[in-house]
Amino acid sequence: MGKIVVPFGPQHPALEEPESFSLLLEGERVAAAAVALGYNHRGMEKACESKTYIQNIYLLERICGICSHAHSTCYVESVESLAGIEIPRRAAYLRSLIGELERIHSHLLFLGVAGHEIGFMTFFMYAWKDREIVMDLLEDLTGNRINYGMNTIGGVRRDISPEQCERVLKAMDQLEERTKYYQQVATEEETMLGRLAGIGVLSREDGLRLGAQGPVLRASGVARDVRRDDPYDAYSELDVRVATDTHADVYGRVVVRVLELMESYRLIREIVKNLPEGPISVKAPVKIPAGEAISRVEAPRGEDVHYTRSNGTDKPERVKVRAPTLANLAAITNMIEGGYLADVPIVIAAIDPCFSCTDRTVKLVRAESGENRTIDWQGLRQYGIDWYRKQGIDMEKIKISRKDM
C-alpha cells in the first residue's frame, strides 16, 4: 500500500467537535499531518463590541461549555482591573471554588474521553459516572451544570450556605477515593498502559519552543501554572502545588491530570475551611473607564488569556480571547507525526482539545454561508420526506412547522 491521505475530521467519531486533520499515511504510520481549523468560528470577539459589559459575561461564558467559568473569570477580572474594583474576599474564594470544581469535572471528562478513544468504554462510563457527582454539585451551587453564570462584574452572583459546604466536602472525599482507583487502573492495567505509554511524545524543549500550555506542558516537566505564577482570585492566599511529570507522552498527560485532580480536592478543602465571611459582590459601574487590561486564568486545559480595551462607554472597544487549545495546537502535528494512525485519536484527545474555545470568536445574521446551508438543509429534508413517502410513511402528517429551520 502506497501513501494515502486520510481525512481525520471535520466530522469524525473521535472528535467531539469539528476540526480537520489531514494525515498522510504510509501503511499504518502517519508520515505527515496538517491541521485545518475554523469550523467553529462564531465571531464572538466582533459580537462583544456590540454588547454591554454585563451581557458579554454570558456571551464569553459560552465560548466553551467545559471551561466556561475560566473564560468568564478571565473576562470579568480584566474588566474589574479596568474599573479599579477590588472584589470582596469571599467572592474571590467562591470564584476559586467554582474554578477548581470545574477543573475536576473537566479532568474527569478527559479521563473518560481518553478511555473512549482507546476503545475502553468501561473506563469511560465509570469516569463519567463519577463526573456526575461534581456536575450535580455545580448544579447545586450555581444553578446549572455547565455555563454556571456565577461571575458578575464586582463579585459572584450566588452565595453558598454551610450545608452546601458540607456537601462539597462530602463529595470531595467520595471523588478522592474514586480518583485513587482510576490512578491505579491507569497505571496498572496492561492494555491501557500499552496504548498510552510512549506515544505522542513532546519533549520539554519542543513544548517550550512551540508554546504548549497547561497539562501538556506540565507533562513534559515544565512547572508552569498561572495559579502560582500570576495568582488571581484567592490563589495568592492558597498554597498551590504544581503537578508535573517527566514522561512527556500521553501517559504523562494522564498522570498529570490525575495529580491535578488530587491537588484540586486539597485546594477545595482549604477553600471551604478558610472561606471568609462578608459580602459576595460590590457595585460595579455600567460604564467602564477608558483603558486596557490583560488577565490570565489557569483553565483546566491551560492558560486562558483575555485582553479588554474600553473606551469609556458601556461597551468594550475590543475583547481578545486566546483559549489554551490554540496554544497547544501548534505542537500537535509534532506529536502525531511518526506515530500510528491508531494513536492519533488518543494523542489529539490528550491535549484535551476544545475547538469551540479555539475558534470562538459573530453571529453573522443571514450571512451567505448560513443562507447556503439552509437551502442545502431544506433540500436534504425534502429528499428525506420524499424517500419515506415512497416507503409509505408520510412525514408531512407528523406536523413539523416549516419555520423551525
Binding site: Q55, R62, Y126, G143, I400
Partner: protein
Amino acid sequence: MKRRYVGKMFPYMMKMLVQKPDTIDYPHHHAHVAEHFRGALKFEQDKCIGCKLCTRVCPANAISIEKVPDEEKKYKAIVFMDKCIFCGQCVDSCPKKALHNSEDFELASMSRDKLRREI
C-alpha cells in the same frame, strides 16, 4: 516500575453487575434537578412595573415586556424560549422581583412557535 495486570477493573465490574444501575430510564423516571436550578422563566404579572430593565440586560434578546391593552399599569412578558440562554440576569436585575427561574427544563418542542411564551 509498578506491577501490571490484565483486567484490573474486573473486581469492580463484578460489584457493579449486582449493584443498582446509576443511570435512570429517563422519560419514564423523572430526572432530579437541584433546588435553585435555573430553568424556564416565570413571571408574576402583578409585581411588574414595566421598567423593561430585563429586556435591556438580556444578552440574547429573549424577553420583551408589553403593556396589556386597555388595562391600567398591567404588563405581560413574552419570553422566547428558543433564544433564552438561562443565565438569569433578568431575574437578578428585576427591581421588583417579578421574574424568577423555575425548575422546568423539559422544553423540547416540534415547533419554534411553541417556544414563544406569553406569560
